[in-house]
């Protein structure tokens, strides 16, 4: 048991290191810092402004190791780097390891504050959607398993596949155009963090997120419950005379829940990301919205920061789930 826990906990930093490496490769190796400067500055980019931009952020240093190589600065200015390890790679790693996410490339604001501000609206949007969606999907999946191999079951699965086959934007466009603008049930845009007004703004986006994920979730959970129902203990319980309803809603539900919760809990930290599309369509000032506007303004620092932050949270969530799982399920511990 202890060795399993220890292994799981030691594995996490290793993965975090891998993520740091990967973000570095994507943002500094796949594109040269000079290209980054040009895309951020756009038309304002002269060699001088581009150089200043790079210099201010320390992106004019050598990439991995400073072995005295000279890169051609636009104005013949020497690249300033002190010591072998004063390079983009080591500086990036150091700042990521200390959770110093830096400043936005476009607005120059401290990213920590920006993320803190964005996390609350995102959680307010996704947490209710996630909880209600989970309960609804579990309920429907159990119902489909209850009536399994009937026309209702087949029809239900077909409906799930149909729901899965509609792109997320279409749900949102439809919801906004018909329910909000056409029927005027809800506001189509905006957000209000104070008081109960917030419920009015959140109702439609939350229900859209639930419907969007429903098809996929129901199908997945149904498969989990069906697998559970084929287990030996179910047959034993049946043989002992447990009624069909009790069997499904007590025995199968409880055991299936273990599998479901491992699928679901690891994703909980990702809720701070909200739903990119829903947030940007409805003008909810969360992290997802921030990310969409960062994409449109070429704000690499924000994209980098969000990527790293969510990856870390996901790894923490995954490790915690593994540990909880080992605590409740002796089979994992022993293997």
């Amino acid at each position: 048991m202890l060795s399993y826990l220890l292994r799981r906990i030691l594995y996490a930093p290793l993965i975090i290191f891998g993520v740091m490496l990967l973000t570095f490769v994507i943002f500094f190796v796949l594109q040269k810092p000079e290209t980054m400067a040009r895309s951020v500055l756009g038309k304002r980019a002269t060699p001088k402004t581009a150089y200043d931009w790079l210099h201010k952020r320390g992106y004019d240093k050598p990439l991995i190791l400073n072995l005295g190589q000279q890169r051609q600065a636009p104005d013949g200015h020497p690249y300033d780097s002190s010591g072998v390890f004063d390079t983009i790679f080591f500086n990036q790693m150091r700042s990521l390891a200390t959770f110093d996410l830096g400043v936005s490339d476009v607005t120059g604001r401290e990213l920590k504050g920006v993320f803190k501000e964005g996390a609350l609206p995102s959680i307010l949007l996704t947490l209710p959607a996630y909880l209600i969606g989970f309960c609804a999907a579990t309920g429907i999946a159990l119902f489909l398993v209850f009536v399994r191999n009937s026309t209702v079951d087949t029809g239900g699965v077909f409906l799930c596949v149909a729901l899965m086959s509609i792109p997320a934007m279409v749900y949102i466009i439809f919801g906004q155009a018909v329910v909000a603008l056409g029927l005027n049930y809800f506001p189509a845009f905006g957000f209000d963090l104070h008081g109960f007004g917030i419920i009015r703004f959140l109702m439609l986006p939350v229900s859209l997120i639930i419907v969007m994920n429903l098809g996929h979730d129901v199908r997945l959970y149904r498969a989990v419950f069906l697998e559970e129902i084929a287990q030996d203990y179910v047959r034993t319980a049946q043989a002992k005379g447990v009624s069909g309803n009790r069997l499904l809603f007590v025995h199968v539900l409880k055991n299936g829940m273990i599998a479901l919760i491992t699928m679901v809990v690891a994703n909980l930290p990702l809720l701070i990301l909200g739903s990119l599309l829903v947030e940007s369509f409805f003008g909810i000032p969360g992290l997802g919205n921030l990310l969409v506007s960062a994409i449109q303004t070429w704000d690499f620092a924000v994209v980098r920061g969000v990527t790293f932050l969510t990856a870390i949270l996901y790894i923490i969530g995954l490790t915690l789930t593994d540990i909880c799982y080992a605590l409740v399920d002796p089979r994992i511990r022993l293997s």
Binding site: I15, G18, L21, P167, M169, I295
Partner: protein, 335 residues
């Protein structure tokens, strides 16, 4: 002689040939023959397979280019649609005048699904967009399927450090939310192109295939036939390619079909976010993105959104249903 043209035509024919080769190759195995017998009885599965075939046919019409016309190359579909007139502006499906409250102009022809802002026939654009979806799906599959299959078999067969390394590799990739990784890579790669999108999508695409194949290989590796092959002194390479590979190939086929539907949806999503298909490429994602503003016009322009969504929905739904039918045919107990 325009060699680029013929290269393109050749790759289309080669791609179709490759699929046929897999099917012919598979047809020799008994498991595939039995699956085919079961699939033939599945009417919904066959119907969805036919719909996929129709989409492939339309896509091929747009992909195969003939050396005629002013630009030196014209697709067959453009030749067929050459007589469809271009109107001055929006027009409703089958309308006789343009869509304008004040002095509508008469149209030159009738349009089944109306025309867009530039007066182009929406039906023809929708058919053309088939090509983009198929190119993204096909190109990505060509990249990720061999990688995922090979790594999965290697991890499942050799275990130990090979397995650890491959698992570490995909855990790191998986820790970054898929959508963020796609956005980051596409943003960094700069100018949009279909090939870049396929590259980005295959970075994340191989993971689920690899996990699936890894699990199945572990199960297969325990079977007596693998031990027998080893006892007969067959090389490791031979065991992997001629014993394990044919026995997991059906999972590759199922995953290929189901993965294709996700790729088509991802294309639409990325195009909406502004990092997907290049502007001007007919694509369902671009059409849906463009339709956002059209819905708030007075009178409402609904036909672009509807036809793009309908076409996308048809393809994704039939892929999902066909994939499920394949799974049932290959594995009737668990399907």
């Amino acid at each position: 002689m325009n060699w680029e043209l013929w290269l393109q035509n050749f790759s289309v024919v080669a791609g179709i040939g490759f699929v046929v080769w897999i099917l012919v190759h598979g047809a020799r195995s008994e498991r595939w023959q039995r699956a085919w017998l079961r699939l033939k009885r599945d009417r919904l599965g066959i119907a969805s397979g036919c719909v996929i075939g129709l989409y492939l046919f339309i896509g091929a019409l747009e992909m195969i280019q003939l050396p005629v016309g002013p630009q030196g190359a014209t697709s067959i579909l453009s030749l067929l649609a050459g007589s469809v007139p271009v109107e001055p502006s929006f027009s409703a499906p089958l309308a006789t005048t343009t869509l304008a409250t004040k002095d509508p102009k008469p149209l030159r022809g009738r349009h089944l699904l109306g025309t867009d802002a530039l007066g182009k026939d929406v039906f023809v654009t929708t058919l053309r967009a088939c090509r983009t979806a198929l190119i993204i799906g096909g190109l990505t599959s060509v990249i990720y399927v061999p990688i995922g299959t090979l790594l999965g078999i290697l991890a499942g067969y050799f275990r130990r450090w090979v397995d650890d390394l491959i698992q570490y590799f995909y855990t790191v990739l998986y820790s970054i939310p898929e959508i963020l990784l796609l956005i980051s890579v596409l943003l960094v790669l700069g100018e949009k192109s279909l090939a870049k999108m396929a590259f980005a999508l295959s970075i994340t695409g191989w993971i689920s295939l690899c996990r699936l194949i890894r699990g199945e290989t572990m199960r297969q590796a325990e079977r007596p036939y693998v031990a027998a092959a080893r006892a007969l002194g067959q090389s490791q390479w031979n065991i992997v390619t001629s014993h394990l590979l044919p026995n997991v190939m059906h999972l590759v086929l199922i995953q290929l079909v189901l993965g294709f539907s996700n790729l088509v949806l991802a294309e639409a999503m990325l195009s909406y976010l502004g990092v997907g298909s290049p502007i001007g490429t007919p694509s369902w994602g671009n059409m849906i993105d463009g339709a956002r503003g059209e819905l708030s016009r007075e009178p409402v322009v609904w036909w672009t959104l509807t036809s793009a969504t309908g076409a996308l929905f048809g393809l994704v739904l039939s892929l999902n249903i066909f994939g499920d039918a394949l799974r049932r045919a290959f594995d009737p107990k668990r399907g």
